[in-house]
């Protein structure tokens, strides 16, 4: 009987606070993750939006190709009309 009483007291005074403490810690950790995840989602959305202009790189590529081709033609013309140094 005495041991049972002691067990009840231990259950109420030690086990219950420890369980509450541990569960509270888990809840705090889970709660702290939510803002970080929301911030990551916001940043990912902004990064995705920033990459909307990536498709224009194809246009840039075409323009660079045309520009270099023009430079090559111009260089070829200069090569014809100008004398070499040696």
């Amino acid at each position: 009987m005495t041991l049972w009483w002691i067990g009840d007291v231990v259950l109420l005074v030690v086990v219950l606070p420890v369980v509450v403490y541990l569960l509270r810690a888990v809840l705090d950790a889970a709660t702290s993750i939510v803002p970080s995840v929301q911030e990551i989602a916001r940043v990912a959305a902004a990064a995705s939006k920033d990459l909307d202009a990536a498709a224009l790189l194809l246009t840039t590529q075409d323009q660079v190709t045309q520009t270099v081709a023009g430079v090559a033609n111009y260089g070829g013309s200069l090569d014809v009309i100008l004398d070499d140094a040696e």
């Binding site: 569960l23 888990v26 939510v34 995840v37 990459l51 660079v64 140094a85």
Partner: protein, 207 residues
């Protein structure tokens, strides 16, 4: 009777302790589940955006690589043309004159250009420069020449252009032979043919 009450009391206390522990577990675990559901929703949103990022950035590597290759080819072409036309020394001098300090970096395609001492831009007058001047182009060289811009003088620039014409016009004569005036009112009428307006001459018939 007392032992029975004692047993009931200790049993009730045990049950109360167990109920309290179970209630604590339920309350906190439900709260944790709610938070984990929020985290799952947020991660789903993140995964969606990351997928968009991966999809949008997929061709970037190839496109940028192609652009770099094209630009490298253009730089190699221009460097090669400059070195071919101006010579290595003058080419380094031209680059140094346009962009101070750039001559020390040399040309990418010509590693030996870093060892060339850039001449003063005022001393760099290549055939190509003169050819450009003859073509009427304003070669943007010699910006650093302390004596001023050697190729294009804004105030007296017409002299350089006039030198392109024959010698007779460069001496600025008081009067030069005028161009002939033609037409019926011309002061000089050329001799007219006599047969104009007369019957056509008949040639003897051939046999």
């Amino acid at each position: 009777m007392a032992p029975v009450l004692a047993f009931m009391a200790v049993g009730a206390l045990t049950a109360l302790a167990v109920v309290l522990i179970v209630v604590a577990l339920v309350v906190y675990l439900v709260a944790v589940i709610v938070q984990l559901r929020k985290i799952t929703g947020g991660l789903d949103e993140v995964i969606g955006h990351v997928g968009e990022i991966v999809q949008k950035s997929a061709p970037v590597n190839d496109v940028v690589t192609t652009i770099n290759e094209q630009l490298d080819a253009g730089v190699d072409l221009l460097e090669g043309l400059l070195v071919k036309k101006a010579g290595m020394t003058d080419a380094v001098g031209l680059v140094e004159g346009l962009y101070a300090g750039a001559g020390a970096a040399g040309f990418r395609k010509f590693p030996e250009s870093t060892e060339v001492k850039a001449p003063r831009i005022g001393e760099v007058y290549t055939q190509g420069t003169l050819t450009l001047a003859r073509l009427g182009r304003e070669a943007p060289i010699a910006l650093g020449n302390p004596a001023g811009f050697p190729l294009r003088n804004v105030e007296g620039g017409s002299l350089a252009a006039r030198l392109l014409y024959p010698e007779a016009r460069q001496s600025k004569p008081a009067s030069m032979p005028r161009s002939p005036v033609i037409g019926t009112d011309a002061p000089v009428q050329y001799e007219q043919r006599d047969d104009i307006g007369k019957p056509r001459k008949r040639l003897p018939a051939r046999r």
